[in-house]
Structure formats: structure tokens, C-alpha cells
């Protein structure tokens, strides 16, 4: 067992975990933040995307220990004081989710995309979503939602 500590959604947390524990397991199983999902075992689907020190990261791809001391934001930490993040609002407004399983990872990836490139085009969005799979929506409305959120976020 190893002690792994970090700040998740603004809260300092510390847990004793097996060294092989992935960040996504740490978040889901040890912190019981189940909004972050697992959709594959080959780092292809993006259901597990969270932000580590402001960067989008597939949390199934790194060990919890690699995030030691980091600032981690999960989908649960996006809304501030009951106010949804513009990306969350846009997903709801544009019907960018059906079953909702890919949605947390999509939203976390999308925020990172827009923050890195506020003026992104539709092509940029589609290309930027390469690492996130959605089986329900055909991406049409996800792309629309991200474009709309980019405007609200000040792009």
C-alpha cells in the first residue's frame, strides 16, 4: 500500500492504495466520485477524462501515484455554487447527450479544447474529439454544443 494525496475538486484527499491503482480507480472506487466513467481498457474511449493541473487527461492511463500533489477536477467539480459550467449548459441545451455515459468525459475534453483554442472551427472540434467515443449521438449535437459553449466561454 502507498499513500496518495491530491486535491480533487478543491478538497484535499489522501488514501492508502495499492501502487498499481489507476487514477480512475482512485477517483471512482476510493473517493466514490462515480461521475468519471470507464468505457474501455485500451485508452481509446475518453469516458474517463478529468483535468489534472488544468490539462485533460485520460484517468485510466495514469496511476493515481502520478497525480500525487496535483489539482484534479472531475465532472462533479465543474458546477460552482449550483451554477452549471457553460459547457454543461450547452450540452443540455443542444441535446448533446443521450445515455449520458460518455458525457462527463466529453464535457471535460471539450472544456480543455475550447480553453486551448477559443476560436476553434467545426473541423477543430471534430478533430479534437478523436479521443472520445460516443455511441449514441452521432456527435452532431456534441459538435454544436461545443461550438455554442466556445462562444459563451468568450471565444
Amino acid at each position: 500500500m502507498a499513500t496518495v494525496s491530491m486535491t480533487v475538486n478543491g478538497n484535499k484527499v489522501s488514501r492508502d492504495v495499492e501502487p498499481r491503482t489507476l487514477l480512475v480507480q482512485y477517483i471512482r472506487e476510493h473517493l466514490e466520485l462515480t461521475g468519471t466513467h470507464v468505457g474501455c481498457d485500451t485508452s481509446q474511449c475518453g469516458a474517463c477524462v478529468v483535468h489534472v493541473d488544468g490539462q485533460s487527461v485520460k484517468s485510466c492511463t495514469i496511476l493515481a501515484a502520478q497525480a500525487e500533489g496535483s489539482q484534479v477536477t472531475t465532472i462533479e467539480g465543474l458546477a460552482k455554487d449550483g451554477k452549471l459550467h457553460p459547457m454543461q449548459e450547452a450540452f443540455r441545451e443542444h441535446h448533446a447527450l443521450q445515455c449520458g455515459f460518455c458525457t462527463p468525459g466529453m464535457i471535460m475534453s471539450a472544456i480543455d479544447l475550447v480553453e486551448k483554442n477559443p476560436k476553434l472551427t467545426e473541423e477543430d472540434i471534430r478533430h479534437g474529439l478523436e479521443g472520445n467515443l460516443c455511441r449514441c449521438t452521432g456527435y452532431h449535437n456534441i459538435v454544436k454544443a461545443i461550438a455554442a459553449a466556445a462562444k459563451t466561454m468568450g471565444g
Binding site: C45, I75, E76, L97, Q98, C99, G100, C136, G138, Y139
Partner: protein
């Protein structure tokens, strides 16, 4: 739309369920953990076909944290029944299909890679998995067969003693004599060999099962990623365990997509429930994606020869096809009906083809079982019909739109009896097609093609005028065709004393948005805002009864049950209102939440009527208190959504890359409750159809039977940059036989898209290729066209 609430039928209301999903508060089955829970890890066969000589579990059992290791022998000793197929198809010779035993854990033979061989139950997932690695299985590896054509050959390996020649059934449908007569007088015959590629459904949420036994009540709960919790309970109770249904509860909470693959009863559910009873501890299993590729029932996998007979003017005279359908290693829950009744009955398409004959051989191979996947049989039928029609147009030098229009069933011909049993209830096929032609700017296509060619690109356009039979299904009809269940739906609408409404539906939502659209239906009917209406689904303990969600049936069947329950409430409400207003019941009308005495200004709102029903101080003497009604709805016919999809593509002959330049979908789903949700269903369906046509395909190694496409690294899922924006239009021809006039929209896109896209790609290439049209295949095929263009 209901003027009072603004949230009734026809409004693109934003979804009620979204808040929990966008904030990470959804509760999927893997998010559930029960106190004292143990974890199951399945040891699976690495071989496609092998005798199991021995299983040494000693080292695994001795590992710290391991609670138990079980093999098929322990299940057999406890008389746990095998997995079943709930639909019996009767073959040409009058004998029922062969449904060989399908034990939840293999007894002496593994018949596909991934077949369960043992299960380890331990305190953590990691311990269970590590211990699983210590189990030594001694296999006698046999030659496997994975190809549906090869498996019928005389010297093929034999999978089951019960199914000689690996044949599950040899079935036929339609009238052979009249079809032959049609071909005899044909001026032209189109012949096609088609492969409908095997697909992995891949809902993004992998399957999960948790069994939990409560000794106090002797009740077992199964938490499962199921599309139809009541059906799962029925199978577990009546066929697997012999338990009474009131002692088993199935909970299917938020489910992350299904597309058919979560209809079925799987081995892991059986084992987790059984082990939880045996060990008196909750037992949980979560599939990883690799296991999902191996164990979730696959879809499609047909090899077909099809022919269309036409007269000299392009009128269809007859259609025949002969199909080999791969069932995989065992018969899954509803596998048998997919390539038979859900397939051949749709071969009339939108056309007046007077004679149709189909024969289908369903076969066993050493592959993952195949069952219903989005569209189930109907995409395969549409692919046959629409590819034949398109190729006929090319061979006869006719316009592909014109040849279709020439053969469409006319709008005044309904109800229309097809030669393949089903009677279409309504449709306006030319209307949808004309709308689609306009939206795609068909007239401008020749110009766009010339422009592409100037840039060295090949442009093609392809049509699919599809039909489907949805709203599954009239119980008597499916019963006569071999179904083991009735396909009604149930609903219970409960007004709570202070006016909020709980609606209990046997349908299940795993992305379809029932919590919103069903609430809109109740909002419209009862004049209550949707914020006050909750849709409850997915728990056999809370919902009286149900048949679940598949076959685009939820609104047409489940929604109709809700309407029936609402009508009963209105009838009861009129009696209460009449009493309160001292009027005759016959004089009371109900509209937009108000009970009124006709021709007067007297009225009482539904809230007051509801409250009175629960506080019946001043109440009709002969009336029961309470304001809640149940209803069952059994449809009188299938519904027949139809429409035209048009794909326009540009092929780069240098790379074989296909770009979808335009996608136009004009669907007729009858009345629409929430256009936003319906469009979303079309987008998703088309995306899966595009996946089938261009990207996806399950591949097995023929020699070893190994699955070569066992992860997202090897199996190409459609990604955002593979797909275009979709141009979605609609026409509305109401269904005449259900109270909402709705037809169902969940599968249309997946049904129409493969044919439309392959018609477009082959139009661009000038030669036939099979799905998936991968860049390599397209590049090879394009070379001939490039040479021809250069020679011009």
C-alpha cells in the same frame, strides 16, 4: 401542443434526465456497491473450440482473499438451468429450430473464445483476477469453424450433437411458385451477392451484474445493465432458477446505451445471482471492454444471394433471396427471430413487388452468439432490397429515384397487404422521397460530380427508401410465429394527493429520453406541467409489469399504455368532478387540466379532483377513493416507419478515403412528441449505420477462430471526424391504430444508412464492394474507374 403547460406533445422540451448526467450524478450499475460485496472474475476459454479435460483450481482457491472458485460442475449440481432462446422458429420440414444446451459456465466443451470456464469470487477485483490467472485448464484443442458458409460444408467441425451439420434451422417464407412465375416472365433480372458484416454493438457502458441475497425476506436482487428488467426476471425465475417471481427483483438503473445488446439474459447475471445466494454475500461483475467484445451478443453476419425480377419498364415482378445467418456458438435469447421474422417480412420494402420468396439457413459457428442489434433483421432486409433496386436502376439506365417512385405503394393503397404477411397501416413514400430530393439538391448533383472529377475525385450519390416494422408487437401475431412471450406494455399513472404525478412504465430508457417524452405525453393528456411528473422505470419492485425497450416500441406500445391509464383517470375524474359540481357525469368535459360542465362556466381543476379522491369527505358513494390507474396495451398491428435517406460521397482514388459530403434523412415516424429527441435518435442511428458501411466489422481468424477485432484499437468505432452533419427532415403520416399516432424512431437511421452509403460509394466507384468499405477496399476498387476516366 397543450396551451396550458407548454410542455406537451410536439415541443422540443429539454430533457429532464440531463441534469444528473451533465453533473456526474447519474447512477449506472457499476456505480452501485453493496455492503460486503465480493467480486467475480471469469476465466474464459482462450480457444475457439476445445474439450475441457480438467480444471485445477487449487492454487486459486488457496490465494488470500479468494472466497470461492466455481466451475460448471457446481452450477449443474445445483440444477441451475442453461441460457434459453425465447422464440422458436419452425423450419421448412416442420421441425423446431435446434437450441442446444447453453450452460452459463461451460461443462466439458468451450465453443467460442471467451466462453466461461470458471469463476473466481474474491474480496477485490484485483485479487479475483490474479487468482484467475492461477487456474490451470487442460484443453484438448479442436479445429474451429467461424465462417457461416464453411460451417455447412460436409467435413466442417461439428459444434453440437443436437444440431447435425451445424444447422439451427432451414426456414422459408413467401410463395415460391408465384415468385418463380415472376422471374419466368421477367424482362430483366438483377443478381447480387451481399455480405452483411458482423458488428459489435459497443454501448459505451460495459455490462455489469450484481447479485444480492436478502436472507430475511429470502429475496434476491439482480442489479443489471438491462433494457428489459421484467423479461430478465422472468427468464431468471422461470427458466434458470425455478424461483417464484416475487422472490427476485431486477433493478436496471441508468443504463449507458444498449442498442439491443442489453436485451438478453447473459451468463454473468446468472452466475452473480447464483453465487450471491450460495455465499450469502453480494457478488459483482463488471465487464471490461475486451470481455464486451467477446461476450456481448454481436449483430448481423449474413451471407446472401438475392435476385430481383423486373419487366421491361422497370416494374418489380418478384424478389427472392437466400441467406445464411450466423448464430454463433449458441442460440442467444431472441437470436432465432432476427434473421427470420424480423428479416423476410420486410422484403417488400416500400414497393408493390407482388411475389417474394426467402429462405434462410441459420447456422452455428465457433463465434460469439449473434442476436438483435439496432434494427435487428430490418437493416439486413433493407440492405437486400435497396441494393437490388439501386443496381437495377444502374443496369436499366434508369434514374434511381424514378425507378423507386414507379414501384412505390401509393398513398391511397393503405392498409396494404404485402406478399410477406405484414399489412402496412399507412405511408406516403413519395412525399418523403421528394422532400429528400429537394433537401439534397438532386438536380445539382451532376454539376457537383463534374466539379469533383475536375479535382480528381469520384463523387457518388446513393438512396435508401427503407421500411421497418416497429412497435413490437401484437402478442397474438408474434405468438403464432413462435414467440414465447406477449409483447404488450404496462403503465401505471399515480397522481399523488397534492397533485404531483408518478408514472410507472415497463419500458426502459437507456438514452432514449423517456423521462422527458413520456412526461410530455402525460402533461398533454392531463394538463399538468412536466416538472410535476416523474417517470419511474427500471425496477421490477416499483413497476408492476413490463416487457422493456427494443424494436422501437417504447412510445408506440409503452406510451399507448400510459395514454390508456390517463384515459381511465379522466373517466374517474369526471365522476368526482360531476359530484363536486352537482352535474351529470355525461355533461362533464375534460380539457387542459380542467373538468368543466358543458355549456356552463362551472369547472374544477384536476388538482382539486385528485385531492378529493384521496380526502373523500364529499365523494360519490359508489366510487373507490384514490387517483391511480393501471393499463396494459397490446398493439393491434406493428407500426411501419419509413422514409428516404440520401448519401452523397466523395472518394479520393489516391487514398481510398471516403468523405460523406451530404447526408439527408427524411423520415416518417407519424406524430412526434419531442422533435429534438427524435432528431437525436436519427443522428445516432445513422452514425451506427455509417459505422457498419465504412468502418466496423468483427473479424475472426479463420484458422484459429481467434477474435482479431477485440478492442477499440482493432475495431473501428465511428469518431467525430468520420461523420458529417446530418440534414434531418420529417413527414408525418400518423399511425392509425395507436392513440398517439406514433410509429417509433430508434432504429430507422441504422436501417437506412448502410444501404444509402453503399449505394453512394458503389455509384462513385462503378463497381460493387462489400461492407465495410475500408480505404483499402475502396482504393483497390477505385483504380478501374480512374483508368476509365483517364481513357475518356
Amino acid at each position: 401542443m397543450n396551451a396550458v403547460t407548454g410542455t406537451g406533445i410536439g415541443a422540443s422540451v429539454r430533457r429532464k434526465e440531463d441534469y444528473r448526467f451533465i453533473t456526474g450524478q447519474g447512477t449506472y450499475t457499476d456505480d452501485i456497491n453493496r455492503p460486503g460485496q465480493l467480486h467475480a472474475y471469469f476465466v474464459r476459454s482462450p480457444h475457439a473450440f476445445a474439450k475441457i479435460k480438467s480444471i485445477d483450481t487449487a492454487a486459486a482457491k488457496a490465494s488470500a482473499g479468494v472466497v470461492a472458485v466455481f466451475t460448471g460442475q457446481e452450477l449443474a449440481a445445483d440444477k441451475v438451468g442453461g441460457l434459453i432462446c425465447g422464440w422458436t422458429v419452425t423450419g421448412k420440414d416442420g421441425t423446431p429450430h435446434k437450441a442446444p444446451p447453453h450452460p452459463a459456465i461451460a461443462l466439458d466443451t468451450a465453443r467460442c473464445v471467451g466462453d466461461q470456464v470458471a469463476v473466481v469470487i474474491a474480496t477485490t477485483k484485483e485479487i479475483a483476477r490474479d487468482a484467475g490467472e492461477k487456474i490451470v485448464v487442460d484443453y484438448d484443442v479442436l479445429q474451429a469453424v467461424v465462417d457461416p458458409v464453411d460451417t455447412l460444408k460436409p467435413n466442417a467441425p461439428q459444434l453440437h450433437a443436437e444440431a447435425p451439420g451445424n444447422l439451427c434451422y432451414d426456414w422459408e417464407f413467401g410463395d415460391r411458385a408465384s415468385t418463380d412465375a415472376g422471374f419466368a416472365k421477367a424482362a430483366h433480372v438483377v443478381k447480387l451477392d451481399l455480405i452483411n458484416n458482423r458488428l459489435s454493438p459497443n454501448p459505451m457502458e460495459p455490462r455489469v451484474a450484481i447479485g444480492e441475497h436478502d436472507r430475511a425476506t429470502d429475496t434476491t436482487t439482480c442489479y443489471s445493465t438491462s433494457q428489459n428488467p421484467h423479461v430478465l426476471r422472468l427468464i431468471l425465475c422461470a427458466f434458470i432458477f425455478g424461483l417464484p417471481e416475487h422472490k427476485v427483483r431486477v433493478v436496471a438503473p441508468d443504463v449507458g446505451g444498449g442498442f439491443g445488446s442489453k436485451i438478453f439474459c447473459y451468463a454473468e447475471e446468472v452466475v452473480c445471482v447464483w453465487a450471491s445466494r450460495k455465499l450469502n454475500k453480494p457478488v459483482k461483475w463488471t465487464s471490461d471492454r475486451s470481455e464486451a467484445f467477446l461476450t456481448d451478443a454481436h449483430g448481423r453476419d449474413h451471407v446472401t444471394h438475392a435476385e430481383l425480377a423486373l419487366d421491361k419498364d422497370g416494374k418489380f415482378l418478384a424478389l427472392k433471396c437466400s441467406t445464411i445467418a450466423n448464430m454463433g456458438a449458441y442460440l442467444s435469447t431472441f437470436a432465432s427471430c432476427v434473421p427470420s421474422y424480423l428479416y423476410a417480412l420486410l422484403l417488400a420494402g416500400q414497393y408493390t413487388t407482388p411475389a417474394i420468396y426467402a429462405e434462410v439457413k441459420a447456422v452455428f459457428t465457433n463465434t460469439t452468439p449473434v442476436d438483435a442489434y439496432r434494427g435487428a433483421g430490418r437493416p439486413e432486409a433493407t440492405y437486400v432490397v435497396e441494393r437490388l433496386v439501386e443496381v437495377a436502376a444502374r443496369q436499366l439506365n434508369m434514374d434511381p429515384a424514378e425507378i423507386r417512385k414507379k414501384n412505390f405503394i401509393a398513398p391511397d393503397a393503405f392498409p396494404y397487404q404485402t406478399p410477406v404477411a405484414v399489412a402496412y397501416d399507412s405511408g406516403q413514400y413519395e412525399l418523403s422521397m421528394n422532400e429528400a430530393l429537394k433537401m439534397v439538391d438532386y438536380k445539382g448533383f451532376a454539376g457537383r460530380r463534374a466539379e469533383s472529377e475536375k479535382r480528381g475525385m469520384l463523387r457518388g450519390i446513393g438512396f435508401a427508401a427503407y421500411i421497418e416494422a416497429c412497435g413490437i408487437a401484437p402478442s397474438a401475431v408474434v405468438g403464432s410465429l413462435g414467440a414465447g412471450v406477449g409483447l404488450w406494455e404496462s403503465a401505471s399513472v399515480r397522481f399523488n394527493p397534492t397533485g404531483s404525478v408518478s408514472v410507472f412504465t415497463g419500458s426502459h430508457s437507456h438514452g432514449q429520453g423517456h423521462e422527458t417524452t413520456f412526461a410530455q405525453v402525460v402533461s398533454e393528456k392531463m394538463g399538468v406541467p412536466i416538472e410535476q411528473i416523474d417517470i419511474v422505470h427500471g425496477d421490477t419492485q416499483r413497476i408492476p409489469m413490463g416487457m422493456g425497450t427494443y424494436g422501437s416500441r417504447s412510445l408506440a406500445v409503452g406510451g399507448s399504455a400510459i395514454v390508456k391509464a390517463c384515459d381511465k383517470l379522466i373517466a374517474k375524474g369526471k365522476k368526482i368532478a360531476a359530484h363536486l359540481m352537482e352535474a351529470a357525469v355525461d355533461d362533464v368535459e375534460f380539457d387542459a387540466g380542467m373538468f368543466k360542465v358543458a355549456g356552463t362556466d362551472k369547472s374544477v381543476p384536476i388538482g382539486q379532483v385528485c385531492f378529493t379522491a384521496y380526502v373523500p369527505h364529499n365523494y360519490p358513494a359508489d366510487l373507490e377513493p384514490g387517483f391511480e390507474e393501471n393499463a396494459f396495451y397490446d398493439p393491434s398491428n406493428f407500426t411501419y416507419p419509413a422514409g428516404t435517406h440520401i448519401a452523397e460521397v466523395e472518394v479520393d482514388p489516391g487514398s481510398g478515403h471516403v468523405t460523406i459530403a451530404k447526408w439527408v434523412a427524411v423520415d416518417d415516424f407519424g406524430n412526434v412528441i419531442n422533435p429534438m429527441v427524435v432528431e437525436g435518435q436519427v443522428h445516432g442511428g445513422v452514425a451506427q449505420g455509417v459505422g457498419q458501411a465504412m468502418l466496423e466489422g468483427v473479424v475472426y481468424d479463420k484458422a484459429s477462430g481467434q477474435l482479431l477485432t477485440g478492442s477499440f484499437m482493432d475495431y473501428t468505432m465511428p469518431r467525430a471526424d468520420d461523420l458529417p452533419n446530418f440534414d434531418v427532415g420529417m413527414t408525418h403520416t400518423p399511425c392509425p391504430h395507436n392513440p398517439l399516432g406514433v410509429k417509433g424512431c430508434g432504429e430507422a437511421g441504422a436501417i437506412a444508412a448502410p444501404a444509402a452509403l453503399m449505394n453512394a460509394i458503389t455509384d462513385a466507384l462503378g463497381v460493387e464492394i462489400d461492407m465495410p468499405a475500408t480505404p483499402e477496399k475502396v482504393w483497390r476498387a477505385a483504380q478501374g474507374k480512374v483508368r476509365a476516366l483517364a481513357a475518356e
